[in-house]
């Protein structure tokens, strides 16, 4: 049980999918201008990440591995992610219109978010069990949310600062993300203790 919570904590903080692996950078840079929007995107990513890695774990362990087709992981995982997003969108549209309109365009955008595929592939590389996968993917989603909300808050401050003109909005955000990554690495010792 302790290991599971360590895994959860590690995936949120020390091995944060956005800040230590730099996955899911397109939405991370593109829709982190406002905290509210960033939170919405983060929530959508967390939900999709948890469900897709769960589905992918089942497909991988029950079908691909027994049939010795593990080299198809990339393709199959991508198809699962796309289908999952589609179904989730239909479901929300039907049963929770307010949530659907809150997610808006973010939900279909998640299909091409590489952090989602990254989590599914890591789970295979690290040979996680089903329960570990759930903790790991949920934690990674939360971690990605923490990162995008934090950078959203920092970018709000950028309005009042005066960065060198050649950095532009994206350049200075990338530098900020780098500094944040440094800060997150500082958590490393905490887990081992």
């Amino acid at each position: 049980m302790k290991e599971l919570f360590l895994l959860l904590f590690a995936s949120i903080v020390t091995s944060n999918i956005a800040l230590t692996y730099f996955l899911g950078m397109c939405p991370f840079l593109a829709i982190s201008k406002e905290i509210k929007v960033a939170t919405g995107m983060g929530a959508a990513v967390t939900v999709v990440m948890t469900f897709t890695s769960l589905a992918n774990w089942l497909i991988n362990n029950l079908i691909l591995l027994p049939a010795k087709l593990e080299f198809l992981q990339f393709l199959i995982f991508i198809i699962t992610i796309a289908a999952m997003v589609q179904v989730l969108e239909m479901f929300l549209d039907r049963y929770s219109p307010t949530l659907y309109s809150a997610f808006g365009i973010f939900l279909p955008l998640i299909t091409v978010n590489c952090a989602i595929l990254g989590v599914s592939l890591f789970m295979v590389l690290r040979s996680y069990s089903l329960i570990e996968t759930i903790f790991y993917s949920f934690g990674s989603g939360l971690g990605w949310t923490v990162a995008i909300v934090a950078i959203g808050g920092l970018r709000k401050g950028l309005i009042f600062s005066d960065p060198p003109k050649n950095f532009g909005a994206a350049g200075i955000t990338a530098i900020l993300a780098g500094l944040m990554a440094l800060a997150f690495i500082g958590f490393t010792g905490v887990v081992r203790g």
Binding site: A67, V87, R94, P97, S101, G104
Partner: protein, 359 residues
């Protein structure tokens, strides 16, 4: 062997996922039959799941829409009397806070999921559908075609110069509509002319450009509050950019029939001499009517061209007398409308007397 196995598996998996999605779509996205009440008076039932705009069109209620359901033009607004209809991001861009509070929504963005009660202006109820046949289709520039449609059923149309129609894309079975302004004189009641510019990969323009003579064409109309006002003796300033000439031409033709003609200044901007279609028509009207002042201008260098050169707002800056009682009609790309509006207000035409059609 492994390759064949992999291919078979991959195909089977994709097929399974597709079938699963279709199956779930049938179950989840089944909204049943919904009742739609218009202005507390008329009502009809329709299968839910489509946008309100499309549902209304399929039931022969026509409301204006110029962008083809993308949620950008804001013409298809309706007032929804139901409570708790969520606001989509594109709606929050189009509407002010007060309008959203007053429950205005874009019918192209609103999906019919439950019974709806809506309010629309009563003049929309008079818009009807016409059936016509393509009389002629004549290329006038490298990408613009003049389309003439003969009306069959009903065989006449009454519209104000400057208004537009919505052509049904794909003939009788089509479900998409695109808006085009009438370029003809409203007096010719049994046929209309449209000027259609071919947009690469454009749904509407490629369909219309490919139509053959005699083919049937369906459209609804007339729509729009961009039309020539006839309640004053003010000077008329018309500004057209490229294919934006269509409604302006209709206005000029209608004007040229009036007995006591107000002064009309026509500014017509184009890129090259080849793009300046219908130039001769205005020269001819100008010769017959002293009150028409015609200022064509090209934005690109052309050795054959003896007239003015430059962007049309610069020409207006140069030629238009400031401070006269005037009203203005503009049609063209948004960037032109914005630049011209700025010049016109500087010249003393109040914003509420500048009418425009942006596309």
């Amino acid at each position: 062997m492994a390759v064949v196995k992999a291919l078979i598996f991959l195909n089977a998996f994709s097929l399974f996922i597709c079938l699963l999605i279709i199956f779930l779509d049938r179950i989840i996205s089944n909204y049943g039959i919904c009742k739609i009440t218009i202005n507390n008076d008329k009502e009809f039932t329709a299968k839910g799941g489509k946008s309100l705009l499309r549902t209304l069109f399929e039931n022969k209620y026509f409301i204006p829409s110029a962008c083809g359901g993308k949620g950008t033009c804001g013409y298809c607004r309706v007032k929804v009397l139901n409570e708790d209809i969520p606001v989509s991001p594109s709606e929050s861009l189009i509407f002010t806070r007060e309008e959203i509070k007053a429950n205005y929504r874009l019918s192209c963005q609103l999906k019919v999921k439950t019974d709806l009660r809506i309010e629309i202006p009563s003049e929309y109820l008079e818009i009807r559908e016409y059936k016509g046949s393509l009389e002629s289709s004549e290329p006038v520039t490298s990408d613009i075609k003049k389309i003439r449609i003969k009306l069959l059923e009903p065989d006449t149309i009454d519209f104000k110069p400057g208004q537009y129609v919505q052509v049904r894309i794909g003939g009788e079975a089509g479900t998409d509509y695109r808006a085009y302004s009438m370029a003809s004189d409203p007096e010719e009641r049994n046929s209309i002319e449209l000027n259609v510019k071919l947009i690469p990969d454009g749904l509407g323009s490629s369909y219309i450009h490919a139509l053959k003579e005699g083919e049937k064409i369906f459209f609804s109309g007339p729509y729009g509050d961009f039309f020539l006002r006839t309640d004053s003796a003010r000077k008329i300033v018309c500004v057209a950019g490229g294919v934006g000439l269509a409604p302006i031409k209709s206005i000029v033709l209608a004007w040229s029939r009036q007995p006591d003609k107000r002064i009309l200044e026509l500014y017509y901007g184009s890129r090259t001499i080849k793009d300046l279609y219908d130039h001769d028509i205005f020269v001819k009207i100008g010769e017959a009517n002293k009150n028409l002042r015609y200022f064509p201008a090209l934005s690109q260098e052309d050795p054959e061209w003896k007239g003015d050169r430059g962007y049309i707002h610069n020409i207006i800056q140069e030629k238009l007398t400031a401070g006269e009682e005037s009203e203005a009609y503009l049609c063209g790309p948004p960037i032109m409308i914005d630049a011209v509006t700025k010049v016109l207000t500087e010249k003393g035409i109040p914003l509420e007397r500048i009418y425009y059609d942006k596309f």
